[in-house]
Symmetry: C2
Subunit: 164 residues, 2 copies
DNA sequence: CTTAATTTGGAACAAATTTCTATTTTATTA
DNA sequence: TAATAAAATAGAAATTTGTTCCAAATTAAG
């Protein structure tokens, strides 16, 4: 499709019902052909093509991704790990964030309200691999005050769908 | 690409380094051409094409998705809502799950260990819209015992990358 | 109502995917 | 170790899809 590593601008973009229709379809299946999208929305290929291009450039569409099933690649254990830092100044926060970004086991890191400062989602093979991560990677950070691990028993719903 | 709504089987599939290389690339950019992938991995198009097809059919690649930036479509508030049920028998659990699946605001629902039974991730416009969801949708379920809302202050990391 | 700006349809073109066949590589067995 | 079978690969041909172009239609502004 389009998206040849062109930098997306932050131009605001008003999305009408046709744009939303396109997003709805592409969220579910990014491999739909422009012709098929056009067919479903009763348009021709050109407007669909142009609208997708604009949404890519505006950053509405951030990425096209192949979604891999963790269970099929032996990364079946998901753990939510809650973290509080000892010190909360800017420098310490930046350092923590930088190190978290480098941990490939961490698929998500949220700065949150409440008792803890951060929630990280860790995707690993099994409990052994989690312990390895918890002790030798997370445990080596020097600004940690308190952590709590919550284990995911089953995934009921997981979607990227934010346009309806 | 491939993936013309063919049913994926659950055939186990051994993934070698070439498959992993393909997944690595497609996770980051599903629009990469087979030629480019082949170029980067020093292969020709056919093996890359066949390997992708096999991984689609085996369910390793679950989906190709356009990732939409929630901020660009006015869904900037993310809330983690923790839930315990009154009754935990199979029937009640199924009912709860069924209703959660229908809430478009809920992008994720995990059955978890610890104090609460479920964590749901809710993606909305603002606090008004969250209140609306919390009171009129979630609050209308009849099996809820206790809930807690944790608000996401900022997203540090969010990836779908599980192959490295 | 008239004009300007934007959006759209449909056809022509370029580029990608998909298929096919011959060849090479890997694995198996004698 | 050599011979054979099975699987994977390269390269080119066929097909499908993405992209561009321009004229027509629609919308917005004066």
């Amino acid at each position: 499709m389009i998206s040849k590593k062109e930098h997306h601008t932050d131009t605001p973009l008003h999305l009408d019902e046709k744009d939303m229709g396109i997003l709805r379809l592409l969220q579910q299946d990014a491999k739909m052909t422009i012709r098929d999208i056009a067919g479903q929305l009763n348009l021709s290929t050109t407007p669909v093509y142009e609208r997708i291009r604009k949404m890519e450039q505006a950053g509405v569409i951030k990425q096209y991704a192949a979604i891999v099933d963790p269970r099929k690649i032996d990364k079946s254990l998901t753990v939510l790990c809650y973290i509080t830092l000892k010190e909360h100044n800017k420098k310490c926060g930046k350092k923590f964030i930088q190190e978290i970004l480098n941990f490939t086991e961490v698929t998500e890191c949220l700065n949150i309200s409440g008792e803890f400062d951060f929630m990280i989602k860790v995707q690993v093979k099994d409990m052994d691999e989690y312990r390895e991560f918890y002790v030798n990677k997370l445990g080596e950070l020097d600004n940690l005050s308190h952590t709590q691990s919550i284990f995911v028993i089953s995934v009921i719903k997981a979607t990227h769908q934010v346009v309806f």
